[in-house]
């Protein structure tokens, strides 16, 4: 049972997506695990053949429990002296540089990505690879998710297929089920594949499962108890993690008010000239600037582990997302510094949708190297956050509001946003934090370069 975030002690296996004898690749989704926060898709840490499924569906086990054995084959196993069955790694101890390796190759090649010239027969992945639709990263992702690139509509520059496009195509095919609905379906013996979802994006909700099972409203009683139970468990999880953060991390706080006049004007023009589906929200620009600033000031991007700072392998931007039933979850947008605003926006929308539909992947919950919380939509002026251990920085954005502002000796009205940084004083000093906040400010003054 992997630790899907620093705040998890145990998990319940909801279902296996593989069976003994199956060939699996590293990064492939092999199981769904329910935690206090959400149902999570768990990726394999190894390439090989599934040996034995040790933990049966429905069982709750502590983090570190062996869930299945995987017999190593090929390159992955070459490093191991014997080909004896290797137990699933208890913890994703390594922050997965290997897992994300393909990302390193991608940025340089993304822009001129060639569009698949809709060849007949380009449907097979092997042949699709021959005509090079999308960047290597995108092709890798498509192959992993079993998506046919020839059938994907590209939303990137010049119609290039982006990772967001591939992931959307993949999720569109997969069942989307809320955690509660999933659990209920297991209790009632309902086959989810036969249920029509009425939620956003066709997500299957509790009511859909009840309807499929022919269960009427009276059953709402235990359901409510289940929701309350989950809300309680989530509060406890958040309580433990946040208490640990405040106990262990000597936070220091900085804030800066950023003039967004140029950025908002640029955004407005951009949104007016483009299709509605390409529209950006201000939050996407703020995230983009944060990701780039984290690259410029890498001392804030990473982890505090065993009394020293470990730099993040890339900028995996954690985003605090409030869940409908209460509580929050902070999944990461992988390699956010390599995503132009449009792709970042697509990733953000995809992440929010999946977080709320209970379809996050394990790596998204463990990989974040720095986290952003944006409470602007809730109308607050500023938010000073609590760091997510083992990360060393948390960036907060308040609402974008019109304020009197002095520019060039004159007083005018400008949209401004208060940007804050909570950082771990063990890892950095205020001077470094200040450089980070001023980087964000500088970047937002040149939105066309973002």
């Amino acid at each position: 049972m992997p630790a899907l975030g620093a705040d998890m002690d145990e998990g319940t296996l909801v279902e296996w997506l593989v069976k003994p004898g199956d060939q699996i690749r590293k990064g492939e989704i092999i199981a769904v695990v329910d935690t206090a926060k959400s149902a999570i898709e768990v990726e394999s840490f190894h390439t090989g053949t599934v040996g034995q499924l040790v933990v049966p569906a429905g069982q709750t086990v502590p983090v570190g429990t062996v869930m299945a054995t995987i017999t190593g084959t090929g390159a992955e196993a070459a490093g191991q002296p014997t080909a004896k069955p290797k137990a699933a790694k208890p913890k994703p101890a390594k922050r997965a540089p290997a897992k994300r390796a393909p990302a390193k190759r991608a940025p340089a090649k993304r822009a001129p990505a060639k569009r698949a010239p809709a060849k007949p027969g380009a449907a097979k992945p092997q042949e699709a690879a021959a005509v090079l639709p999308g960047s290597p990263l995108v092709r890798h992702e498509a192959e992993q998710l079993g998506v046919d690139l020839a059938a994907v509509h590209g939303s990137g520059r010049g119609g290039a297929i982006t990772r967001g496009d591939v992931e959307r195509a993949a999720t569109a095919r997969r069942l989307r089920v809320t955690p509660l609905a999933r659990r209920l379906a297991a209790e009632l013996g309902v086959d989810l594949a036969a249920v029509t979802g009425s939620g956003p994006g066709g997500a299957i909700r509790e009511a859909d499962v009840r309807q499929a099972a022919g269960v009427r409203a009276p059953a709402a009683q235990p359901a409510r108890a289940g929701t309350a139970e989950r809300a309680g468990a989530m509060r406890q999880t958040i309580a433990r993690l946040m208490a640990r953060s405040k106990r262990e991390i000597p936070h220091y706080y900085l804030s800066n008010t950023v003039d967004l006049g140029t950025a908002m004007a640029w955004l407005r023009e951009r949104n007016r000239s483009l299709d509605m589906s390409d529209r950006l929200v201000p939050a996407a620009l703020l995230l983009r600037a944060t990701a780039l600033a984290a690259r410029q000031v890498p001392q804030l991007n990473g982890y505090w582990e065993q009394d020293h700072f470990v730099p993040g392998p890339a900028v995996h931007l954690g985003v605090a997302i409030s869940l409908r039933g209460g509580g929050l979850i902070t999944p990461a947008i992988h390699d956010a510094d390599g995503l132009p605003p449009g792709e970042l926006m697509a990733s953000l929308r995809d992440l929010v949708t999946r977080a709320r539909a209970g379809r996050l992947r394990g790596s998204e919950l463990t990989d974040a190297t720095i986290t952003v919380t944006n409470l602007g939509d809730q109308g607050v002026e500023s938010v000073t956050g609590v760091i997510y251990p083992p990360q060393v920085a948390l960036v907060g954005f308040g609402k974008v509001a019109d304020r009197p502002w002095a520019v060039g000796g004159l007083l005018g009205v400008r949209p401004v946003v208060v940007t804050t940084l909570a950082a771990d004083h063990r890892a950095t000093d205020g001077y470094t934090g200040a450089r980070f906040l001023s980087s964000i400010d500088d970047l937002l003054q040149r939105p066309e370069e973002l």
Partner: protein
Amino acid sequence: MTTEQARQTIKDILREVAPDGDPDTLGDDADLRGSLELDSLDFLNFVEELSKRSGRRIDEDDYPQLATLASGAKFLAGP
């Protein structure tokens, strides 16, 4: 689209983008974003869907007119 149809369309979409809220309990002049706790992405989903079903482009400058059920219905039903 009549005002009543527009009102119904808005409610239908709100039910999809905010499955936990009940648009039927909303007052005519209640602030949609505040009452249903829609964030900027939810609101964008709402606007996109509204545009799709009404067949008209909705610019950011039009957002203020989508603040409430009453103003939104009037906007959609308008010329």
